[in-house]
C-alpha cells in the first residue's frame, strides 16, 4: 500500500512548491537578481563630476559617511517616476545621495536635471558604463546603500516606492546608525 502512495506524496510536494512559487511571485519581481556584492567592498571607481568634468570622484573620496548611489539616466522613463520619491521621501531621511549618470550624454543629463530638479548631493557620470558593470548594474534605476567603510549594504533593483523606502531602506539605515562608528 505504501509504495502506491509514493506518486501521490511526490505530487503533494510538487504542489507545495508551486504554491510557494505563486506566493513568492506576488512579493518578488521574478526578474530581480540578488547582487553578489552585498556585504563586500564597493568596487573601485574614479569618475568625473557631471557639472565639472575636470574634477574626479573616486571610491576613497566617499569614505567616512554612508551614502546612497542612485543609478539613473535621462533616457530612463522609470527614473522620472522615481525622481519625486527621491526628492520628497528619500532625501528627507538625511542620507547623502550621489547620482550615477549611467550610459548617458552629460548634456542630456544636465538638461534632465534642470527640468526635473536635482535631488543629488553630487552627480558623477559613467559614459561608457564600465563602472556600472563593476557594480553589477543591469537596468535603471538601481540604488546602492554604501556604508562609511565603503561596504555595500543593500541594493535596490528598480525604482524606490514610498513603501519600499519604509520597509526596506529605513531598517538598513537604522542598522547603520546603531553600529559603533569606526574611524576610517
Amino acid at each position: 500500500m505504501t509504495s502506491r502512495l509514493i506518486p501521490l506524496l511526490a505530487f503533494i510536494a510538487l504542489v507545495a512548491l508551486l504554491a510557494f512559487g505563486i506566493q513568492w511571485n506576488k512579493h518578488h519581481e521574478m526578474t530581480e537578481v540578488p547582487s553578489p556584492l552585498i556585504g563586500k567592498n564597493a568596487p573601485e571607481f574614479t569618475l568625473p563630476l557631471l557639472y565639472d568634468a575636470n574634477k574626479k570622484v573616486s571610491r576613497a573620496d566617499l569614505l567616512g559617511k554612508p551614502y546612497i548611489l542612485n543609478v539613473f539616466g535621462s533616457w530612463c522613463p522609470t527614473c522620472q517616476y522615481e525622481h519625486p520619491i527621491l526628492t520628497h521621501v528619500l532625501k528627507p531621511l538625511g542620507i547623502t545621495l550621489i547620482g550615477l549618470d549611467w550610459r548617458d550624454d552629460p548634456a542630456d543629463a544636465q538638461r534632465w536635471l534642470k527640468q526635473f530638479g536635482n535631488p543629488y548631493d553630487a552627480v558623477i557620470t559613467d559614459r561608457d558604463g564600465r563602472a556600472g558593470i563593476d557594480f553589477g548594474v543591469y537596468m535603471a534605476p538601481e540604488s546602492f546603500l554604501v556604508d562609511a567603510n565603503g561596504v555595500i549594504r543593500y541594493k535596490r533593483i528598480g525604482m524606490f516606492t514610498p513603501e519600499l523606502v519604509a520597509t526596506e531602506l529605513k531598517p538598513q539605515l537604522a542598522a547603520l546608525d546603531a553600529e559603533p562608528k569606526k574611524n576610517p
Partner: protein
Amino acid sequence: MSRFIVSLAIALSMWLTAHTAFAIDPLPFKDRAEEVRFQNLTRELRCLVCQNQNLADSEAELAGELRRQVFDMMQSGKSDAEIKQYLVARYNDFVLYDPPVKPGTWLLWFAPGVLVLIGAIVIVNILRKRTRQPVAVVSSEEDW
C-alpha cells in the same frame, strides 16, 4: 497599486535598456578558433536584461557592452573560467546557464542519477521475482 507601478516601471526600463543595440556585432577576431570560442562562451551566459536570451543573441545594449567586455578579456589572454568568474562576481551565478556544482545545486546535478539508480534497483528486484516463474515460449506468430 504601487506594486503595479513598480512592475510596469521595471518592464519599461528594461525595454528601454533593450533599445537600439544589435546582437549582430562583427568583432575583429584573430582567427576562426577565437571566434568559435567567443560564440560558445557567450552562448553559455545569460543576458540579465532580456533574461530568456543568451548573451550571444540578446539585442539589449547592456548585452552589447558585456559582449565587448568578454571580447576584450579574451584578447588580453584571460581564460573562459576567469571571464565567467568576472561576470559572476558582479552579477551573481544567475548569469551562467551552466549551474555551478555547489551545495545549493547538488540536488539538481545528482538527483536524476540517483533516481535512475533507485529505479534500476527496483527493476532488478522485480525481475528477480518475475523470472522465477515458468515461462511459456512465444511462437513467432504471436510475437506481435
